[in-house]
Subunit: 283 residues, 2 copies
C-alpha cells in the first residue's frame, strides 16, 4: 500500500468510503479482495496473498535471469527467473501464473524505454511474495541506480562460458545508470562501450543485467523472509537537496507540484532549472 | 515477444540456442513453457496462455479503475479494474491471479515516479490476454502521451457524483503529459491546476486517470479480440526526427547508442543537445 493510500485501508474501503462498492465486493474478505468465486456460493478458487516464499539461490536465479532474457526479454525474463524457482520449490499457486504477464515490460515497455524491464519483472515477484512490496521494491530501485552493470560476477560467468546460454565471452565495461529508466541505463552503457543499442553486445549486456537484478532480488527477499532486511540504499544527497522544496510534502508555492525519488540531475541540468524561473537557486 | 527477440523464438529456445536449458525446461511445451507440474508426472496445473478474453464494458471498467485507485493505488487499481471483470465473466484462471502482483507500480514504482502506474497495471492485463502485447501496449502508451487527463467523461462523472467512490466534484483542468512517466505527467497537471502533488485533488486526478486508461485498454482489447484493431497513435514527428540518427537501427557512430520511443524533447532541450557536441544539429 502506497504512502498515498495510508489513510485508506482495505478494511475501510469495504466498510467506509468504499461502501458503494459493497455490491461487487460482497463475499470477499481481507487480502483476498480481488479473488472472487466464479459464481455465487462456489468454493473460493484463489490462494491467499502474499504467496509463500522459499529461500532462493541467488546464483541459480542469476543464471536463469540471463537465460530468461533470451526467451522472454528483460521483464518477463526477470519474473521467470524468480517464479520458475518458486514453481519448482512450492508448486501451486505459482504454477497458475503465466510469467508472460510481464511481457509488455520488454525494452522499458514495448520499446518505449521507460522503466527498466528487469526492475519491472523483479518487482512483480516481490509484490507476489510480500505485503511490504513498497519498501522492498524501493530498495531494489535505489540499489539499481547506484550499481555498476554488468556485475563482475556476470562478466566472469560470461568470460568462462558458465551461463546457461553463452552468446559472448567479452568482459564489458561497467556503467552506473544513476536512473531506473531503460533509456538512460542503455545509453550510458552503449556510449561507454562504443556499442550501438541494436547490437548483440547490448542485448547480452541487458541479459547479464537481468541476471544481476534478479540475484539481488533473491538476496532482498531471502533477507526479508528469513533474515533481517534493512534498506542499504538511500536516494542521492542531490535528490534530497532538490526535494527539500520539490516533493509531495511541500506546498505548491514551495515547489510541491513535483514528486518522485529519481536523482533530479539525471534529466534536469542547471540550464533546465534556470528556465523554470530566472531566480531559481539552480541558475 | 519484443523486437530484440524476434530471431529467438520460444521454440528455438528449447531446441536450439537455449539447449543448455533443456534440463530445467524438460517436460514443458510451447506457450506453457513457464508453467510446470509441481512434481514430475503430475497433472499440469497451469492454464494455457494467453488467457481467454470476453468483451468488457469500458464505462464499467472506468468506474472500477477510479475506485481501484483508492484501494490499491494506480497500478494495482488498473489491473484490478480489468481482471476483476474477467474474474466475473470468465472465472478461472483469473480467479487465481492476485492483482497485488502490480502493487509495486504505485507512484511510478514505489514512489519513484518512473512509468505511470496506470499504464503498468493496464499493460499487465493486456499481456495476460494477448500474444500481441507488444503492439497493443505500445498503442496504449502512445495514446497516453497525447491524451488530455482527466477526460471530460471522468470530470463529468465526478461532477455528478456518479463514480463508485466520490471524493471530489471539482472539474479539473486537463493536461497532456507528452510522456509516459509519472513524474512528468503529475508535474504538468499540478502546475496547471496549481495543486501540490501531495494534495487530495492530485490523488483524485490520478484516480480519474486510472479510470480513463483502463477504459481505453478495454476499448483496445475489445477491438483486438472482437473487431478490427488498428494503431491510431504514432510517435511524435519530433521524436521521429531525432530517431533518424538516435535509434537501435542506427550504427553507433551515427548516434545509435540511444533507443526508445519517448518524445526526446520531454527531457532534452536545445541546451541539452548542444552540450553533447558543439556541432550537434540541435544546437
Amino acid at each position: 500500500m502506497s504512502q498515498d493510500q495510508s489513510s485508506v485501508s482495505r478494511r475501510n474501503f469495504l466498510t467506509g468510503t468504499g461502501a458503494a462498492l459493497a455490491g461487487t465486493a460482497a463475499g470477499l474478505v481481507g487480502h483476498s479482495l480481488f479473488f472472487r468465486p466464479s459464481s455465487a456460493g462456489a468454493v473460493k478458487q484463489g490462494f491467499e496473498w502474499p504467496w509463500p516464499y522459499t529461500e532462493l539461490d541467488p546464483e541459480k536465479v542469476r543464471k536463469k535471469g540471463h537465460a530468461g532474457y533470451y526467451d522472454g526479454d528483460c521483464a518477463e525474463g526477470a519474473l521467470y527467473a524468480l517464479v520458475s524457482e518458486l514453481q519448482e520449490n512450492v508448486g501451486a499457486p505459482y504454477t497458475y501464473l503465466p510469467v508472460q504477464i510481464m511481457g509488455f515490460g520488454g525494452g522499458g515497455v514495448a520499446g518505449w524505454c521507460t522503466l527498466c524491464g528487469a526492475l519491472n519483472g523483479a518487482c512483480a515477484a516481490i509484490s507476489l511474495t510480500s505485503k511490504d512490496f513498497y519498501k522492498l521494491s524501493s530498495e531494489l530501485v535505489a540499489w539499481y541506480c547506484e550499481t555498476p552493470f554488468p556485475s563482475h560476477t556476470s562478466n566472469e560467468l560470461a568470460k568462462n562460458g558458465e551461463f546457461l546460454v553463452n552468446k559472448s565471452n567479452k568482459v564489458f565495461k561497467q556503467t552506473v545508470s544513476n536512473s531506473p529508466l531503460c533509456h538512460v541505463s542503455v545509453c550510458k552503457w552503449c556510449k561507454e562501450n562504443e556499442c550501438g543499442s541494436g547490437c548483440p553486445d547490448r542485448s547480452e549486456r541487458c541479459a547479464r543485467m537481468v541476471g544481476d537484478v534478479v540475484a539481488k532480488t533473491a538476496e532482498i527477499l531471502n533477507a526479508y523472509h528469513f533474515g533481517e532486511f534493512r534498506a542499504q540504499c538511500s536516494e542521492s544527497d542531490l535528490a534530497h537537496s532538490c526535494q527539500a522544496c520539490h516533493s509531495k510534502e511541500s506546498p505548491y508555492e514551495m515547489g510541491g507540484w513535483s514528486r518522485g525519488k529519481m536523482d533530479c540531475t539525471s534529466c534536469h541540468i542547471k540550464g533546465h532549472a534556470s528556465l523554470v524561473d530566472p531566480h531559481h537557486p539552480g541558475k
